[in-house]
Symmetry: C2
């Protein structure tokens, strides 16, 4: 018996190439699409094609954008602060906090010697150039990188270069998450949260 038919197998094959989606989930999605109107599938494929064909990256902040000159530099934001992040979802996460009103700079990854990713593969040089030519002058660079070895390496590399330029470099606080319990926190986090304790006022 020739089952599943080739047409279904092809679709499953393509869908299961996506990260986190295996053959079973792919089959479930295929059956879902087959049960919906044809419009559902054509809207999906149109949105994906449009996305892949027409998406741009901002030449300044390297965020995903509709144009090569995105709205990252708008007058309503604090133009003297740049927040450096690894990738686009980090920007969305920080934006959702409504606690930051400055500029962003997306590195597009972190330094990882194991994976062969060096500073020249990331948007690090363009960060320095951006700071150099910025008007008004950049006063603070906030590093919002993941607290992993690669993230720390990248932060260290950027900090060293920026300090030489006399720019204030800060990093987001590492500590016990709100709602977390001391008892279950790992030692490194708890230890660092004591060392970098803040004054109650």
């Amino acid at each position: 018996m020739n089952f599943p038919p080739k047409i279904v197998e092809d679709a499953i094959e393509e869908i299961s190439k996506l990260p986190g989606i295996g053959k079973k989930t792919a089959l479930r999605l295929v059956l879902h699409l087959l049960k919906q109107d044809k419009d559902a599938t054509s809207n999906l494929t149109a949105a994906l094609s449009h996305l892949r064909e027409d998406v741009q990256y901002c030449g300044t902040c390297h965020m995903i954008s509709d144009t090569t000159d995105c709205t990252c530099r708008t007058i309503t934001r604090d133009l003297a602060t740049i927040c450096v992040v690894q990738d686009t979802p980090d920007v969305m996460a920080i934006e959702n906090t409504h606690q930051y009103k400055g500029l962003y700079h997306v590195l597009g990854g972190v330094i990882s010697p194991i994976e062969g990713i060096g500073p020249e593969d990331l948007h690090i040089e363009s960060l320095f150039k951006r700071i150099d030519t910025s008007e008004p002058k950049i006063e603070e660079v906030i590093l919002a990188l993941n607290p992993t070895m690669e993230g720390d390496t990248t932060a260290f590399y950027i900090t060293k270069k920026l300090k030489a330029l006399g720019i204030k470099v800060t990093t987001i606080a590492r500590g016990i998450p709100i709602g977390g319990e001391l008892e279950y926190a790992d030692e490194v986090t708890l230890g660092r949260s004591i060392l970098t304790r803040t004054i109650y006022d």
Copy 2:
């Protein structure tokens, strides 16, 4: 700041309409596609369009197929046995066991008064017609429906009709799964596994 851009938001919106995929997963998939070659996206959209436009359902067994006359009736299979299942993934699951060589019949759902699904909404009538006109004669109908209230209702409905026609109706065994532990089995399953115990030989 206009973020994420409309083009990305549209793609996220469409992807997150799929079952089990939320906005965060959709964003992750979008970023994955953007990092891949353009071919990856065009292959995916082509396979989906092709699937939705050209898929057929077999007029006999109601399985998904390339044609309206699928290969369900091949000479290499046992043509006197029909296995009745709820939906296409069930066929794949049974095929993967390599323990069944007969025919299939996909109901396309189960009787569910709460959801307003009656026997007339399913491929039940066509099952009776198929059995009626089958050459060679159908000797056994195996009900492989999920052990839920709806599955049992459907099984009861089909059994009653088929018994009147003098056809042998069986159901797949319900019991303790291989590798399962008696201690953690629910009472209904364990109770039924005792009632329907099989002879060791």
